[in-house]
């Protein structure tokens, strides 16, 4: 239950672009588990737990704290706010979507949807560019310009909701689900005697090109790292072979960029401890923070766990709590048994 509460707080917090609310929320939770917690120059949260043992290895657990959103570019003379992507928002989900514009305070706005009678037959099914879609904030141009400025960030309106005993739905489960799994892991580790040092990074700017994790990994300089992100869960319109399934366990990533020994270790720990998991095999890069961590400094052995998620980059991302728990459990086993054997 505590996991769901944490996830609700994290999902509802704003973390697009330079917004720090989500990082503040994550830092507050993380500080209960860590000896020290700090922020780096870009704004990522870094926590550390010292096991007190000589020559202990350092394991980094990483998830990104930012979310997809938009950034205000201009306000037109009728008070409509225009924005550009700040991460890869799904344009199909924008018409009539509710957002929060983080001006001098958060303002609710609605993405304009053009009435069907104004659409030409040939363009009827064509989605407009984001830069042409205004946001209605109910204000005149003068009012709007006083409290909203170019550069202000926009997120979807907080909307966390439990759908069933195990499914939850809300904005920015990508990657607050990953953040929550690391917190769940720390809850496990709190009860045991650690044999390695732990660093936790909740990185900014993943959605803008995995930037935060690169500098955080440089600072932490770990021996091993596990990145936790989300990946595609099957929906009936998708290719089954390219998706995981919600509720069937975290997805263990296989990629040329990931350390195969670590990956195999995660897999055998899951097998030995009856933790459900799925395999996610990628022929090239993973498109996650795992890459930017693995090539920091002289290189870090890195593995990737992904929480299956439906409707990525829409306001209603769905995840299964059991997958988050199992990812957390698996990371705890790796910290406990895996590190010393690699």
């Amino acid at each position: 239950m505590q996991l769901i509460k944490s996830l609700e707080l994290l999902s509802n917090a704003a973390g697009a672009g330079g917004l720090t609310d989500a990082a503040d929320t994550a830092q507050a939770i993380l500080s209960k588990y860590c000896d020290t917690v700090e922020r780096d120059a870009l704004g990522s949260v870094i926590g550390r737990i010292d096991c007190g043992k000589k020559d202990a290895k350092l394991l980094l657990l990483e998830a990104h704290i930012d979310e997809i959103g938009l950034i205000v570019t201009r306000i037109d003379d009728n008070g409509f706010v225009y924005a550009e992507n700040c991460g890869g928002v799904d344009r199909r989900a924008l018409a009539a979507a509710e957002v929060l514009i983080h001006g001098d305070k958060p303002y609710v706005g609605v993405f304009c949807s053009s009435p069907p009678h104004l659409k030409k037959e040939k363009d009827k099914d064509k989605l407009p560019d984001i830069s042409d879609m205004g946001i209605d904030v109910g204000m005149s141009a003068k009012q709007a310009r006083e409290c909203i400025r170019p550069g202000d960030c926009i997120t979807f309106r907080p909307n966390f909701k439990k759908l069933s005993n195990t499914h939850v739905c809300g904005k920015s489960m990508d990657d607050r689900a990953g953040v929550a799994s690391i917190i769940y892991c720390l809850e496990f580790l709190r009860k045991i005697e650690l044999c390695c040092n732990i660093a936790v990074v909740f990185a900014v700017q993943e959605e803008l090109g995995c930037r935060g994790s690169a500098v955080s990994a440089y600072r932490v300089a770990p021996d091993f790292a596990i990145a936790v992100d989300v990946s595609f869960a099957y929906t009936p319109d998708a290719d089954k072979s390219k998706c995981g399934v919600l509720g069937k366990g975290p997805m263990i990533g296989y990629s040329p960029t990931l350390d195969f020994d670590m990956t195999k270790k995660l897999r055998s720990l899951a097998d030995d401890n009856n933790i459900p998991y799925q395999n996610e095999v990628m022929g090239g890069t993973t498109g996650t923070d795992a890459e930017s961590i693995s090539d920091a400094r002289t290189g870090t052995k890195t593995a990737l766990l992904s929480i299956p998620l439906r409707y990525m980059h829409t306001p209603n991302e769905i995840v299964d709590i059991r997958d988050i728990e199992n990812a957390g459990h698996l990371m705890a086993l790796f910290a406990q048994e895996g590190v010393s054997r690699l």
């Binding site: 008070g79 199909r92 989900a93 104004l118 909701k161 998706c243 509720g247 829409t314 769905i318």
Partner: protein, 344 residues
């Protein structure tokens, strides 16, 4: 009135399932200090005869519809998703990525991640026939425990006051009209009037047909919500009407050519009362007047509408000021329409 509207918008009432809205309206009518005789016809229309301070030989009817657009469940897939059809004119462009309420459960309508879409899929509005409702069920059996074929769903959308005195909610079309009619019922009007809260407007003005037959009015005023296209990037000549510029008066739409004398009278009344009104500047859409004016031997009709942005979407937007001004105008129209010259 805002509080009444908020309550009305919290009730689910897709076409053909207006009973909860009906119950709320009946309770409000019962609580009114005015002398009101209420009946409900076979289709579910609420018909309320409100006794005024004065008699008139004309029967004046006001109509607003209780139903709203939504979705009807047609089946479930083996994967545990619900299949559905839209009820009423919903543009599929506002459906993808939205949340719906269904039998007290929450569902999500979306599809595969944008990352997995081909270019044309990324740039195209998804078709209704490709969309499903995700109710977090693992099997067909579990999905059918949540909703069965024939059950209905509505957009999940919180009633929110935006800056600038705007209201954002679903179902403002036409709970706003219902709230205005309840306002008319909250005090004794100058003349006798009949208020009809109709069913099934969104599926072809069906309730209004039987209600008008039952009431047999001389004059009918339809109080509905209408498309305001004064939104981002739309040229002024395409606005149709504007939120915040007052009640919208129709001269013609796709279903009705409105009575010219009533149309002119509304502008005179508005000017005298200091209410800013606007003409609907496009021949588009239609409302209960389409059914009412063809009832029996014909009925003189007028439409006074609330300008509404993003109508039939989860995030419809109207203005509090427009709502208040419309209430004021309707009050005055009771007197002026009672006095208006008969045409036959």
């Amino acid at each position: 009135m805002i509080d009444t509207l908020k309550k009305l918008c919290s009730i689910e009432g897709v076409s053909g399932r207006e009973n909860k809205v009906c119950e709320f309206i009946l309770a409000r009518l019962k609580a009114s200090p005015a002398d009101i005789d209420v009946s409900v016809d076979a289709l579910g229309n609420v018909i309320a005869d409100v006794k005024g301070n004065n008699r008139t030989h004309k029967k004046i009817m006001f109509a607003a519809h209780m139903d709203e657009v939504g979705f009807i469940i047609t089946d479930a897939t083996d994967d545990g998703y619900l299949r559905f059809s839209p009820v009423g004119g919903i543009d599929s462009a506002v459906v993808f990525g939205r949340r719906v309420r269904i039998n007290k459960h929450i569902g999500v309508i979306a599809g595969k991640a944008v990352h997995q879409c081909k270019d044309d899929e990324k740039n195209t509005v998804p078709d209704f026939d490709k969309l499903l409702i995700d109710v977090a069920a693992d099997s067909r059996e579990d999905a059918l425990k949540i909703a069965r074929p024939g059950d209905v769903a509505v957009f999940d959308s919180e009633f929110t006051i935006l800056p600038g005195g705007l209201i954002k909610a679903r179902a403002l079309d036409d709970r706003a009209g219902c709230a205005l009619l309840l306002y008319l019922a909250s005090h004794t009007p100058q003349y006798d009037i009949t208020l009809t809260f109709t069913v099934q407007e969104e599926v072809g003005l069906r309730g209004a047909k039987t209600a008008a037959f039952g009431v047999s009015p001389d004059i009918a005023v339809v109080v509905d919500s209408t498309t305001a296209a004064d939104t981002a990037g739309v040229k002024p000549e395409k606005h149709v009407c504007r939120v915040g510029s007052g009640p919208v008066i129709s001269f013609m739409d796709k279903r009705t050519l409105y009575d010219k004398n009533l149309y002119d009278q509304i502008f005179c009344t508005a000017q005298r009362e200091g209410v800013a009104v606007q003409a609907k500047t496009a021949v588009a859409g239609g409302n209960d007047a389409g059914a009412i004016h063809l009832s029996r031997t014909g009925v003189r009709v007028a439409a006074v509408s609330l300008p509404c942005r993003y109508i039939h979407s989860p995030s419809s937007v109207i203005s509090k000021k427009d709502l208040e001004q419309t209430a004021k105008l309707l009050d005055s129209l009771v007197t002026d329409f009672a006095a208006i010259e008969d045409t036959v």
